[in-house]
């Protein structure tokens, strides 16, 4: 049986089958979580925000005009939500319950198909450094870098989602990569 596509799910949800929205949540949860986590670097906060993004997108589903792909529409909601959340948290000085960025307890999930436990530990540490350095990037660079190099989205999709033109997307990606490369190089990772 062919997997049901996003538009069909949207139609189902709009016709009253809210339960069908779980398919959307299942499909986009990891990507959304990664993006949010890279921006806030706190597991609990990222989980809450990810959940809020899904709830908000469900409520806004009627405004989806089908002029673009559902994924692009959804990601643009995600990007905007994070921007607004950041502004709001700056304004109200929101402090996550689980603490600051240094005591985040999230353990990276290393796939089992890698080599032995020692190598897993090395990989885990390396990825944690990469994650931390991505988090330290300026927001403008981090935003597009995550979408491009972690999620593998096209320049065009990123341009549409973030709401900036294509050449700006490229410039931000290049500068973000250069900055990240230099920092990882300084830390002896690459």
């Amino acid at each position: 049986m062919l997997p049901i596509d996003d538009i069909e799910v949207v139609d189902k949800v709009l016709s009253g089958d809210t339960e069908a929205f779980s398919l959307i949540v299942e499909r986009y949860r990891n990507m959304t979580f990664r993006y949010v986590y890279s921006r806030f670097n706190n597991y609990d906060e990222a989980m809450d925000i990810t959940q809020d993004i899904f709830i908000m997108s469900l409520e806004a589903l009627k405004s989806f005009r089908r002029e673009s792909k559902f994924s692009t529409w959804f990601y643009s909601i995600m990007v905007n939500y994070c921007k607004n959340y950041r502004k709001k948290s700056k304004r109200y000085n929101v402090v996550p319950i689980s603490g600051g960025k240094d005591d985040d307890e999230y353990e990276l999930q290393i796939p089992d198909d890698r080599a032995g436990p020692e190598e897993n530990v090395i990989t885990n540490d390396s990825l944690r450094i990469v994650k931390d350095e991505i988090y330290r990037l300026p927001d403008d660079y981090k935003e597009v870098l995550v979408l491009r190099d972690i999620e593998g989205l096209s320049y065009n999709d990123i341009s549409e989602m973030v709401g900036i033109n294509l050449s700006n997307v490229k410039v931000r990606i290049h500068r973000g990569r250069e900055l990240l490369k230099n920092r990882l190089s300084e830390r002896g990772l690459i």
Partner: protein
């Protein structure tokens, strides 16, 4: 030593397969074969992108996330339904209660205690709301066979047999009435008695009024508006 290195943007484009022109690709590859700096930069860039790509496999949302999110969605939906319908239901209850209370007040028998509300007892007069009060009083007087001597802006003066006065008084309700009991009826058309005194005047509702009537006596009255 090669002085002109490949700009980082070009290397970045190359990694993304954004260098479309075949000749340019060839030139870049040839340059990197000769220039260790650019080759190293390119490898570092590839390595960094590879790490980022690995993050995709390792940053995973919690397993029960879908379940929790759907539960949150349902909870919000229920709450919204509740918030939408409760005020409407409350307004309906208030409206129905108000109407019921109003109906009970309207239909309550005279003198019935309706609780803490100060309710005026209904007038015993079958008042015609379209008619003026003077017309109503004249109607009551006629119905009780009373003689009317004078109708002014302030009062209506007349006379009635003493035994019928108590009934008349009750029917006049809240109206203020001055009266005097006499033995002879006053003649119609005679001048109004200027010495009519406030003897036995009543200004209550008149429901409990009674007059020990004696045969042949008449009551001369003024009913004030």
């Amino acid at each position: 030593m090669i002085e002109n290195h490949i700009p980082f943007e070009k290397l970045s484009d190359f990694c993304d397969d954004e260098v479309i022109v075949q000749e340019e690709r060839k030139e870049l590859l040839e340059h990197m074969q000769k220039c260790h700096f650019c080759k190293s930069e390119f490898h570092q860039l590839q390595s960094m992108i590879s790490y980022c790509s690995d993050l995709r496999k390792t940053f995973i949302c919690a397993e029960d996330f879908v379940k929790k999110t759907m539960a949150a969605i349902k909870w919000r939906h229920r709450r919204r339904t509740l918030l939408t319908h409760v005020p409407v239901a409350a307004a309906s209850v208030v409206l129905i209660g108000g109407v019921a209370l109003f109906a009970s007040i309207i239909n309550a028998p005279a003198g019935h205690d309706t609780g803490s509300f100060a309710i005026m007892p209904p007038s015993p007069l079958p008042l015609n709301t379209a008619a003026s009060d003077t017309e109503n009083v004249v109607g009551i007087l006629s119905a009780n066979s009373a003689s009317i001597f004078k109708v002014s802006d302030l009062f209506i003066e007349g006379e009635i047999a003493a035994e019928r006065f108590a009934k008349l008084r009750r029917e006049l309700g809240f109206r203020k009435v001055f009266y005097r009991v006499g033995s002879r009826p006053k003649q119609q058309g005679a001048a109004a008695n200027p010495y009519l005194e406030e003897v036995g005047s009543v200004s209550g509702s008149g429901e409990q009024f009674s007059l020990p009537a004696r045969q042949g006596e008449y009551v001369h009255f003024r009913i004030f508006k």
